[in-house]
Structures are given as structure tokens and as C-alpha cells.
């Protein structure tokens, strides 16, 4: 009796370990393949200019500051064009739709979309969630890379004081 019970317990443990290992392996495989093809890379304007021409099928994100005075509406009345910069290079962006609440000239913005053939970034999504002085981490990173982080910081601090 006790022997068969121990056997049953052992068998049960085997089942459990087998099932868990199978599930974990499956999940790991899924994660790895998904990382390969659905992770979106983030580029700063400088990187975009360096890497161009970029395959128009590749989805990517671009982040930087919206150049003051660059926001304009195109003739169709719905498409908005603006320029994003990291103070070293800049890239024109076209976007159809309603811009988010916190989109403003001189502020940080992240856009997701793809490059078209003539060097314009066609955004399918513009992200500027969070509050007004928020700097998306990626944008802060790219500004730091281009060496203009401090002046932006100072400007923001001044604005806050006013």
C-alpha cells in the first residue's frame, strides 16, 4: 500500500514537473520569437539620418523635441507636419489624426511609424502621454547623446519658475 502510494506520488511529481517544464519552454520560445520580430527600435534623429535609407517596412520609433514654429497643416486639412530634432539632426514627420493633449512646440515627443522613401517619417501614432514637463526617457537619452541635455534642463527649470 505504502509502496504504491509512494509510486503514485512519484508519478504525480513527474507529471507536474513535466507539464511545468513544457509550459515554461513554450513561453520562453514565444518570448524569444516575439522579441525578434515585434520589438520596436527607438532611434534619435541623428541615428535616423546616419542609418538612412531605412527600409520602409520596418516599424520604428523616433523621439526628440518638436522644433518651434515647424508645426503646419498640409492641404488636406488633416495631415500635420512637424520637425523633430535632437539639436544635432532633425527629421520631418507627417501625421494624420488628432495630436495628443500634451503635444507642444519645444516639448519632447515620441512618434511611432515608418520612414517613407523621401526621408519623411510617417507616424501612425504620436505619444505624449503624462504631464507637461515630462520628458520621455528615450528622448532624454537621445538628447544626452547629442550633448544638449543640460540646456533643455535649464530651459525647463526656468519655465517652471515663471
Amino acid at each position: 500500500m505504502s509502496l504504491s502510494r509512494a509510486k503514485a506520488r512519484k508519478r504525480q511529481r513527474m507529471y507536474i514537473i513535466g507539464a511545468v517544464l513544457l509550459a515554461v519552454a513554450g513561453a520562453a520560445a514565444l518570448i524569444l520569437t516575439a522579441f525578434e520580430d515585434s520589438v520596436v527600435f527607438f532611434f534619435s534623429p541623428t541615428e535616423i539620418v546616419e542609418k538612412s535609407p531605412i527600409d520602409p517596412d520596418q516599424r520604428l520609433r523616433i523621439g526628440g523635441l518638436v522644433v518651434e514654429g515647424s508645426v503646419a497643416k498640409l492641404e488636406d486639412g488633416k495631415t500635420i507636419a512637424f520637425v523633430v530634432t535632437d539639436m544635432a539632426q532633425s527629421v520631418p514627420i507627417a501625421y494624420s489624426g488628432i495630436l495628443p493633449d500634451l503635444f507642444r512646440e519645444g516639448q519632447g515627443v515620441v512618434a511611432e511609424g515608418h520612414m517613407n522613401g523621401n526621408g519623411t517619417f510617417v507616424a501612425s501614432e504620436v505619444l505624449a502621454k503624462h504631464d507637461e514637463n515630462y520628458m520621455p526617457p528615450e528622448v532624454a537619452e537621445s538628447l544626452k547623446k547629442s550633448g544638449h541635455w543640460e540646456e533643455i534642463e535649464q530651459k525647463n527649470a526656468e519655465q517652471m519658475r515663471n
Partner: protein, 698 residues
Amino acid sequence: MLAEFGHFALLLIVVTGFGQAVLCSPLWLRSSIRSSLLGPATVLAGGSPGPFSDGPGNMSVRLPTQDLPRQTSPYLILPLGILVLAIIAEAGLLHAFIVSDFSLPIVADVSHSSTPLLFRIGAAFTPDGGAMVLWLLAVSLVNVVLAIQLFTPEKSSYAQDDDGSLYHNALSVLGLLIAVLGLATLIDADPFLRMAVAPLDGRGMNPQNQDVLRVLREPFLYLGLAGLAVIYALTISGLLDKKFDRRIAETMRFWTIMSWVSLGTAIAINAYRSYSQQAWGNWWYWDTAENSLLLPWLLTTALVHCRAVLEKTETLKGWTAFLGLSALAVGWFGVYLTRSDLFGPLTETLMKSGDSMTLLIGFCVVFAGSYYLFWQRSDNLGEPRPFEPISRESSMFLNSVILALIAAVVLIGTIYPLVLRWLGGENITVGGPFYVEVLVPMTVPLLLLMGFAPTLRWRQDEVWLIGRRMKLAAILSLIIFLFVSIRFIDLSPAPLIGIGLAGWILTASLSDLWARLWRQPDHGESKYRNLQLLGPRYLSMTLAHIGLAVMLAGGAASSIWEEQIVVSARAGQSIQAGPYNLQYEGVSLLAGENYATRQAKFILYRHALPVTELYPEIRYYPIRGVETREAGIWHGRDGDLHVSVGDRADDGGRVVSVRFLPMMTWVWAGMILMLTGGAISIVTRIFLRFQKNGVSAS
């Protein structure tokens, strides 16, 4: 002045928390010092010497007092004291916000004299320090409830060999958690600090948080996390005693459901809020804040199921204990993740309060200790009774493993880009597509399992029996699936599979309910008796499962058949979306309480009959100089109509975005159904507990 009382209360909470941790700890209780010291103390506290010594004589002491609540006064006084202190701290903070005392930097940062009262109170919960005080208050509250629950045990409980040490361990662990959280509040982000020179006015609340639902989210979130703290304390207590058994499972029952409902409510509020803010416009984003809510909820869902198995059959001990520890761990880590700048710059409101280092250190120490304990005790967590691979136990186990893996995927997706950036690697984004690609294949077996698992027998079942039971549901859901996939063959398969699976869960749940109501022999009484016999447990489970199916169907359908139109509209123009017709009536400038709003008016027609009027807005908050956009939403029977307005277009019209989301209403209804299911379980639990005869809720 009240703020200083609050500050002092916060300090005292740390001290009393440690006091509770020490006084209730088994080391203290078993030591000889206790007998010499606690004797007078208990007299002072109004009780007689406690019956909780380990001596063999205590049975005889306790027997005569069986019907009275056990002499617990010294152990109730500490939790009650902590609760009073936490209320004082919260009241001090709220008072500072209500009277707009800008000498407190926390008030000056997120409030303003023009902020309406409700949102001044709401603003008190948003910054780090305020959130921590709320969390402390929630944990103190559950601390008292747990003490009461433990010292007035139910008659139905499996308390054969109860020597009271479960109670003390659990209270001791909770005391320790309270002390750690109190310390983290004081060191990381002390909300009661004063400035030497107070500014004339504050910087205003973040306008995006100025919403009634958003204010309600915080109490639900922290109540949920506090419930997880109780589960954690009970788990540790069981591990310490080497008695992680059905008695613990029974005590945990209320807490798992409570946490599940609270966290679920917080998630639902979050989803609805992002949906109604036009700028975000969708209901799930997979961003850090959302994921940190989702993680503990997923593990709690797994725990709800494993706990039931543990209570019924005393199997899955180790796994349930692991989930019990991990649920709080991910909840705590999520709180840390949303407010630390370890991985990158933060939102400005949080920037000031530093890096929440104490919260992280506390997290590491607490959980390193608990997992070490778990590892030490793993030998005692074997299964007393084996079960077959086809049984209720194994299906519940499989289900919770998948849920835990889903949580792991969400955790990896959240942390991986942060870690990669931290290590100085590439800058990547893990967004919706990643989660869809990984989670869709993982949820398919989960949802398939969900259909028939509730009908499985405990211990052992047969495949052909399952087949016979599930015949009707399988055929019906297959018909639904084939119908949608043939009808919409050119669409992407994932949402169609989602609809099929929703159909499967729905038909399986309903056919099981049907079988239980009408196939059972009816005891010579009315069929209504069968309904009573089902019990609240079964009903709430079925309701939650049906809710998930409804939500799944709604989410899948609205993602396939969504229609979006962006036009530049002039007054009087009408816009067609789905079966609806919107007539734009123009924009009027109105004054809100602390904002100015451009409010657009739309008259909504359905098949040429007027239905309602919608007023999407663009609000301008002058204090922060920020615009927010509130969508106008109509929850119709065939779907949601979501309309929002943008800027003036160059041709003189106004940019209007109209979305028709078929069956989106189902998503919200499904969420409400799931939460209602949980709430039924809680309410009947409380109700039955206070009934004199104490019938167990089953």
C-alpha cells in the same frame, strides 16, 4: 498643526508596527521573558494572561471559555492602536490638502487653491508620500480585520489543533510590513515635511488626474495590495509553523477574493479612464503603470483557484504558498517600478521625491527572507494525496501555471527595455504587438481549460465523461467559430479565435449551470431549491467566467470592426459612423470649476431617431497651462460611439474624430460582471460570518 500630529503618528506607526512584530512573534511568545513581562501587561490591557503558551496545560485553560471570544485584548489593542494612528496620519495629510496648507511641499506640488475640494482630496493620494500613507492606512485596516477574524474563528473551520500560533505569526508579519512601509514613507518621501517659506499658491493638480474615477482608483489599488499583504502574512505564518494546510486556505479565502476584486476594480477604472481621455483613446496600453496593476491581479487570479484546491484537498501546498508570497512581491515591485527613477527619468510630479530606495531595500530584504523560508520549508509542502492527470486539481494547477507564466511574460516585457537601457544597450520599446504575439497563444489553452475545468471531478475524472458533458457546448461554440471565420475569412485570425473561445466559455458555463439546475434530482421541492443548493461560490465563479467571456467577445469584436472617421466639420454637418449619425452643433466656450472648456455639442441619431446629446470637451487648465480632451461616449446596445474634438482646422471647420466600436459595451459589461461575481462571494462571506449559526458559505 494637524500635519505635525500626522507626522508624529507616522513615527509611532513604525514603532508600534515593530512592537506588534515583536510581541506577536513566536520567539517572544515562547521565551520565558514573556511570562514575567506579559503577565502584568495583559492585566493592564484588560485581559487575563493569554492562553497561548505552548504548555500542555493550556487546553484546560481554554476549554471553559470556548464560547466567548478568546482573550485577545493585548493582541487586538496593538492593531487598533496602529489603525487609529494611521487614521490620524491620513487625516493630517488630508486636512493639509483641504485647507491648502502650502507650507507642505507635497501640497504645494500637486494642489492649488482653485482645485475643487474632491480633487484636493484626490491629489493627496497621487504623490509618493500621499500614496504611501494611503497604503499604510489600508494595511492597518486589514490588520485589524485580520486580528478580529483570527480571534473569533468560525465554527466550521478546520480548527482541530489550533494553538493560536497561526494568529500570532500572521499578525507579527503584518506588524513588520507596517513598520517597513512606515519607514519607507518617512525616509523616501516624507509627506509631512515643512518648507521654511511657504509659496503663495500651489502648482496645481495634474489635470489628467482630475477625474472622479481616477480619484477612486487609488483606494481600490491600495486596498488590493493590503489584501495581498494579509495573504503574504498568512503564508509566512503557515510556513513558519510547518502547517500550511486547509485552515490557512480557509482563512485566506476572503482575502484572495477581496484583493482580486479591488485590484480588478482599479484595473477597470484605469482602462475606462484611458478610454475616455481622447488623447489616449484606447483602453489598454501595456505601459508600466498598467502592467504594474496587471501583474498582482494575474497572480491573485491564479491564487484564487489554487487556494480553493488547497482548501478542498490539501494538495498544491507548495505552489499555493509560492503564489501567496509572489503576489505581494510583484505588487510591491510594481509600486516601486512606477515611482523609481532607477531606469530613467520620471514624470515631474514624482521627480522630487527621489528614488524610493528604502522601498526597494525593504522589498529585497522582506522577499529574500520569505523565499529563503519557503525554500527551507519546501520539504513540508509535499502532497499528501496524489491526484490523477485528469482531475479538477490538475486543471486548476495548469490554469494557475499558465496565469503565472503570463505574469512572467508581462514582467519581462516591462523590465527588459528598462534593463537594456540601464546596461547601456539599444533603446527598444516593447509594446502591444509583443504582448499580443506572446500572450495570444498562451491564453488559448487557458481559455479552453476554463470551459470544462469547473465541471471536472476532484481526484480523478475520465475523458469520455468530459466529452459527454461538454458535447453541447463544444458543438455550439464550434458553430459560432466556424460561422465568424467563414463569414470574415479575410480578417486576422486572432480576434476570430477570441470570439470562438468566448463562445466556448459562455456555452460551457451556461450548459453546466443548466445541468446543475435542471438535471439534478429535485429533492421533491421546487427547482428554486436547486438554485439555492448551488451556493454563492458556484454562482460567483460562473458569473466571473461569463464576465470574462463577454469581455473577450467585446474586445475581439470591437478591435475587428472598429470604424474611425476623422473629418473637419462645420456646424450643422452630419457624420455617419456605423448605425449612428452625429450632427455637429458647434462649440461653446464655458467655464469649469478650475478650467475653461470648449465644449462641442453633437446630437446623436440612430437610424434617424435622436438618441442623445454628446458633449466632448477640450479643457484648458490655466494653473498648469495644460489642455486635456474629454471624449463624449455613448454606450449603445450595438456598441460604443466615441467622439472627440481637436483643434480648429485650416478650412474653418473643427477636427472631429468619431469612432464606432461595435460591442465595446460588452467589454465594460464583462468587467462589471466579473467584479460582481467576486463581490457576491465577499458579501455572502461576510453575511454568513455574522450569522449566529455560522453556516459555511458553500
